[in-house]
Amino acid sequence: MNIWNRFKERMQGRKRKEQETSNEGKNSLDKNLLVNINHLKQDLGDSSDLVIRHFEMGGEPLIKTAAIYISGLVNEKNVNEFVSGALKVEASIEKMTQESSVVNSFDFIKGHAHSVEKVTVVSEWDKLLLAVLSGYTVILVDGYDEAITGDTKGGETRGVNEPSTQLIIRGPKVAFTESIGTNVALIRRYLKSPDLRFETMQVGSISKTDVAVMYMKGIASEKVLREIKTRLNKIEVDDIIDSGYIEQYIQDTSLTLFPTIYNTERPDSVVGNLMEGRIAIIVDGTPFVLVAPALFIQFFQTPSDYYQNFVISSFLRLLRVISFTISLLTPSLYIALTTFHPQMIPTPLLVSLAAQQEGVPFPLFMEVLLMEFTFEIIREAGLRMPRAVGQAVSIVGGLVLGQAAVQAGIVSATTIIVVALTGIASFAVPSYNIAVAPRILRFSLMIIAGSFGLYGVLMALFILIAHMSSLRSLGIPYLSPFAPFIWSDIKDSIIRQPLWSMNSRPRLINQQNVQRQAKSQKPVPSDPADSYSKNEKGD
């Protein structure tokens, strides 16, 4: 074990050293423009999307400049503005000749290059490369070992659309996109506060993916923030493609089926979480934003819970938790009760179950296991089917496997009902990644139920709950506010109290700036009797 680790470390170290030395070879720009351009071409493998536009400007002597960018990554209009602004040939010739004695041409060009955002000067070779590859336009001037970069990022991106995974009935109908800039802006539009901070870092030694940590200063816990940053800084990988990568590198433990970091594609959800003191991690290239710390109960909540009547929301939340339990337990309870404890089933129901079981060739346990497995196959098949084939899957799945199996007497109707109920119940859980947990746990529970009965199921549940209580999300107990029990946080957990009564933010997540609204906000008509009589008088 130890030897292997040491070996691995040494190998990685060697690799990294090699990379460093190759970069160190020439990490500064040359004064000669052509040398620089050739170097760049060589580094990018003479790539065909690399655009190099040569300009000559000024009088005596002619100043050679070049604008460099990669065609697909930039917004052509921005590039033109940037380049023409900086190298405005006609206007500059006169000026140049007048001022050339006073200022050097590099500063002159830089001074004119303000038609785009973020104009900087770089002198290191790798920074220049990164700038070109991130969609910046770089202007090189002959005779100077520095380059001017301008942010001309652009290119084809997806527009802002409706959410495709977290649909709600009432509430904003906007979802994040793959562009980090758009995503940050979407959040900022909700919170016009200087306290909304975001810190960007680049993760991935090759991909150099932008990862932004977003939080509300003064509300988010400093400790958690520090923890997140440390964990993000620890990531040393080649590439980050989706926020799922980040999630797996920073979660407290990966040995669990339960997600300990929340992800969403809804800006309103992120904003609500930020205001509760949570921290969002936005990764460039994916519409899914991570939110941490996440609690178990959070996965049963949707943004629209806050947009509608609290009684309805509370009922719906309760319903989701119940369906979670149903999807976890129904098949195993069915097996345990019918094969181990038939005395627990009311007589008429038992008689009806027994009648169906009559002539079914498999033991009940095998039957349920088979059907559950079949259902999982249908679900997985239906997920990625092209739309044209999808119908075939549902016909085959629903009719052939369901109805025909019962009619043929291979499977009992109750088993189909149980499997269907389990399936439907798992769809009622709003968060996909927590709905997956019971899908897998179900099978082990079924095996336990088939061999130990109800007793085994209870034991398994006992272990499951013990496991869940041991989980932490960035140090916050996963099962809070139930374990540890926090009375003040129950108001927004399995139930939701009216908005006017939720005066404080969740206690465990946020410990500073607890007050979230003024007290006694219960809507009361300002003496309706009085205003009525006034109206009458007016008439």
Binding site: P342, Q343, T347, L350, V351, A413, G456
Partner: protein
């Protein structure tokens, strides 16, 4: 690590050392709904089991496969009950499950000759039984014949029997619905005698066993709850009928609802009252070593049927009727007290009340309680209140004139 291994061991022990479970596929289990116990002339138990035929009972598409009876009754004989239960496997291809048994029927002759103690020991000791099964004494015919009669309303006859026993106890009150638990409790005290509802077969047994009985609109063969069996020291002593039986229920405060009738004036018609809220209190006193019980019954009800011309809006009339109804109830109770004193069996539990109030004296009386009971003084006070006159006030018969 060591600790962890310790935990794993503990957990394994927890899982592996638990007893009393059993895996059985539903199609390998025969659900026994009712069990009847008789005794043959040569001293063997004759046990019959009513076993459900699930396919015939349940609704839905699956059950239309074949025509047959909803239940099958199997019989076997043996020296002990347990032996018989295991021996029946020679006939029944499945494992008997008693957890859903709803009735236990004990043959009249068995109850008379041997008593209940021997049978009930097994029913309580055996893990398979559920103590909520209703216990009944078959009257006039062996228990196995009662269990073999089919029934058109409830597909499972045993459930019909239990339902009937429960319903009649609820709305008519003559016969109590007692389960194994109640019976064993009464059997084990000396201060109270057992009384159990009877069940009788009406009609021809052969006919009742055939599924064609379910096609008759007015079945010629059926079973009914019939009479109250009274016991002395666990042995059947005799039967109480109709009002005598209900007298026992009045005293034991077992009446939930019942119907009391009375004449209004001299033979001018009749009225029926639905009695609710019955509250009976037994007050034991001992004077000069002689026990005396005062039975105070307070009850109320509402008029349901009136066929005599009385003005029900007049409070005095109502008071008069109250007295008449109280009198009717009093008579019922008195007759049953008299009968039971003659039979020398204290099914009322008077001994129990004495024991509670005067434990010292009870110890002296305990030994020959039956004879003391048969001579003791019993005073019955009944109060009745009419609380409503139904949806009408004026009797329809008054409109005739």
């Amino acid at each position: 690590m060591r600790q962890r291994i310790g935990f794993i061991w503990l957990f394994l022990v927890l899982i592996l050392l638990t007893g009393c479970w059993d895996q059985n596929e539903l199609e390998d289990v025969a659900l026994v709904m009712g069990m009847g116990i008789d005794k043959t002339e040569d001293g063997l138990y004759d046990v019959s089991f009513q076993i459900v035929n699930p396919e015939q009972v349940s609704g839905g598409e699956m059950s239309q496969s074949s025509k047959g009876t909803a239940v099958t009754t199997y019989r076997d004989k043996g020296q002990t009950l347990f032996e018989t239960i295991r021996k029946i496997s020679k006939e029944v291809p499945r494992k008997l499950s008693f957890s859903h048994m709803v009735v236990l029927i004990i043959g009249e002759s068995l109850a008379e000759d041997e008593g209940l103690f021997e049978v009930m020991d097994f029913t309580e000791r055996f893990y398979g039984f559920r103590s909520t099964a209703t216990v009944l004494i078959s009257r006039g015919s062996p228990a196995q014949s009662i269990l073999s009669i089919l029934n058109p309303i409830e597909k499972i006859p045993a459930m019909k029997i239990q339902e009937a026993s429960k319903k009649t106890a609820e709305v008519w009150g003559e016969t109590p619905d007692q389960n194994i638990n109640d019976l064993i409790q009464t059997l084990t005290t000396k201060s109270k005698e057992v009384s159990l509802s009877g069940i009788a077969l009406v009609g021809d047994m052969q006919e009742g066993q055939h599924s064609s009985i379910n096609e008759q609109a007015a079945p010629s063969t059926y079973i009914e709850i019939n009479g109250l069996a009274i016991f002395q020291d666990g042995k059947l002593k005799g039967w109480l009928e109709d009002k005598e039986a209900r007298g026992v229920s009045w005293v034991r405060n077992n009446i939930q609802k019942t119907v009391v009738t009375s004449t209004c004036k001299e033979n001018e018609g009749i009225l029926a009252v639905e009695v609710r809220n019955v509250n009976t209190k037994l007050k034991p006193t001992i004077k000069k070593g002689e026990p005396k019980i005062t039975v105070n019954i307070k009850s109320e009800g509402s008029l349901q049927e009136v066929t005599c011309p009385v003005d029900l809006t007049d409070p005095n009339v109502i008071i008069e009727l109250n007295k008449k109804l109280a009198k009717a109830i009093e008579e019922e109770v008195n007759t049953s007290v008299k009968t039971l004193q003659e039979e020398e069996t204290d099914v009322f539990g008077f001994g129990e009340t004495l024991n509670q109030k005067h434990p010292k004296e009870w110890k002296k009386m305990k030994e020959d309680w039956s004879s003391t009971f048969s001579e003791m003084d019993v005073e019955v006070n009944v109060e009745f209140f009419i609380r409503g006159t139904g949806l009408r006030t004026k009797p329809l018969i008054l409109e005739k004139k």
